[in-house]
Symmetry: C2
Subunit: 382 residues, 2 copies
């Protein structure tokens, strides 16, 4: 790769937009959404409050919050054609691929899908999609297990509806609080790859469903949304607390594997979300009586924290590390972790998409290193 491309290939440090949504301060390990520390929001905010904040750059008053909650809940149902489509898919399909297909198909039934320019209409579509992504995720998890999907309830918030639509039972408060905290923590994060993708799509004048589909396609990648599932698979491979030390020795110190969920492109001090999720997953481990996975994760993090390789490179647990434990303890299937990430990140995606509308085409440059000046010869003379 040319030096120029090698430096810029990942676009590190290249500013592509002014934003009011989030500030990722990697040096100091801080994350703020539109002015508020993530710690404050994770401790206090309903997910819908964060959605409002990212869209309007201020927190809602009580009435505005209730209006947005009610709108998202009441528009969270999906057309019966989408449920029929889900029913026809192979049961072993990847849930993120299913979400990608279903969100793309939602456009065909959204009367505003081809309105490409009106920002108020875009916000209505974003509110619909915020609810619908949750409904599709829960419906798919039931359908693939041979169960009928459950429709969302208009009186629930999104975290309640997700827990309810998975089980069909009145949602448990501990589970709802944990899901809500996860949704708040993952809602937005600077110019991450899926958000950037949604801007690249939008900048051509394409529609909101297209931009969200592109974002889902990007989030699906193991280096982005797939990382907490990878972390959980690693914890499952370790299996028992007493295996942590020998596993670390064999695979990390003597092998060439890396610890999934440790290290982050941006955060070099600490990932502020990891500390919050560690507390949450610890509390959940205790209240559920299943603390094995928390203990495995904490033990492994301790080994890494004391290891020169990790210290030198400033590698700390990131948001994926403890969220894996928390979601697994909530009995969520590992391959449903990424759809839950999408359920949250639609907040940041939609805020960025609306901001990018009518913006400049995003078209970088390639550095040509192929042959030149070749002359055509017919195939039978080659």
């Amino acid at each position: 790769m040319s030096e120029q491309a090698a430096n810029k290939g990942g676009l590190e440090g290249v500013v592509v937009a002014d934003v009011t949504t989030s500030l990722v301060d990697g040096v100091n390990g801080k994350l703020i959404y539109s002015g508020y520390d993530i710690e404050d929001l994770a401790a206090n905010a309903l997910f819908e409050e964060v959605v409002f904040l990212l869209w309007h750059v201020r927190l809602p008053n009580a009435q505005e919050l209730e209006e947005l909650r009610a709108k998202i809940a009441s528009e969270a149902s999906v057309p019966p054609q989408i449920i029929d489509m889900l029913k026809a898919l192979p049961k072993d399909a990847n849930p993120m691929a299913v979400l990608r297909t279903a969100v793309s198909a939602l456009a065909h039934y959204d009367p505003d899908s081809e309105n490409l320019t009106d920002k108020a209409v875009a916000q209505e579509k974003a509110a619909r999609l915020t609810g619908q992504i949750t409904t599709i995720s829960a419906a798919w998890d039931r359908l693939r297990k041979g169960e009928e999907p459950i429709a969302p309830k208009a009186e629930y918030n999104l975290a309640q509806n997700f827990v309810y639509m998975l089980s069909g039972e009145e949602p448990d408060k501990t589970a709802v609080d944990a899901v809500n905290a996860y949704l708040v923590l993952l809602a937005e994060h600077g110019m991450n790859a899926s958000t950037f993708c949604s801007r690249v799509v939008t900048a051509t004048g394409s529609d909101m469903h297209s931009a969200v589909v592109g974002a889902i396609a990007t989030l699906k990648g193991p280096s982005h949304g797939g990382a907490n599932a990878e972390a959980m698979r690693m914890f499952l491979e370790i299996g028992e607390v007493e295996n942590v030390e020998p596993w670390f020795k064999t695979n990390i110190k003597e092998g060439n594997r890396r610890i999934m969920g440790i290290g982050h492109r941006v955060y070099k001090a600490t990932d502020p979300r990891a500390a919050i999720l560690r507390d949450r997953s610890k509390a959940l481990a205790e209240s559920s009586g299943n603390s094995k996975w928390f203990e495995i994760a904490d033990k492994l993090a301790e080994l890494a924290r004391a290891d020169e390789y990790f210290i030198e490179r400033k590698l700390y647990p990131n948001v994926d590390y403890y969220s894996a434990i928390m979601l697994y303890t909530l009995k969520l299937d590992v391959d449903m972790f990424v759809p839950l990430f999408a359920m949250s990140r639609i907040a940041g995606w939609s805020a960025n998409i609306i901001d990018q509308m009518a913006g400049r085409l995003i078209r970088p440059k390639a550095n040509y290193i192929g042959p030149k000046d070749l002359k055509w010869e017919p195939a039978d003379q080659r």
Copy 2:
């Protein structure tokens, strides 16, 4: 917008990859694919030859070409579940939205869709998708007109199959040659927005179907793939050759509209594809006995060429301008122009996707301009 973001928002001149696929020389108005001038390829190459060239950085010999043609043709059929899905969609759906949904759904039936790392397997998937995108596009055009889709023939090349699957009749040579030339001309073009999107998706480790779905979502935008359809809608609005001058005066000189299909972000001398397409559309106008649209386009281009505004800004007809005329004269519906673009550009997308596999995460930066240091207050105190 901050100065930094304003400069970089469109990523002009920012190199994101070394490529062997194409060199876009805007200053000299030249385009080469892996060493060959676009003029040479448009005059001589079968689309499948260009696909091979972009994938392997050399032209195929006769046997290799026949093998690739046969593979693409024989794998161009789509599973019956996809046809059923298309049949269930509203007939007025946007064909690019339909293509986005259907290509996403193809992943559920591709046994290799979740193989994320093997480049040889990726190339097999790319060959399948190359055929399948054409089949889906033609099938949708028939289905929405109440006609049954037609399966591709194993002995045809892709241009033949497209013309055949649209009409069900033995493909006419003039039409096939025009479609083939269009497919060759549009197959690849530097780091355009949809190709870049496919790289952003791939760089997270996501799968080929996801990357192609992201590219389709991006190409759908009016500022990218939608431009030739917009150009044709403009020609249709003008309607008659004698309307060109008054239309130009009212809408361009005295109004604030712009001529769709004139001007290009990169080409400042001439778009080499436009000259080829002008010749093709002129020939087609003559052979079809329908020269009205060619005359309108040529007259409007002449007015722009003589106008100071266009001269100063180096605005010339681009690839979309005359391709609109050519495709319309072939009796293709205007909203099928963009799917035809996708049928071609899958060649460049797939070459770029395979090149990007295992590459670095593409994650630029946002410049935060929102509020800071706000303190949480409960909703009822706001």
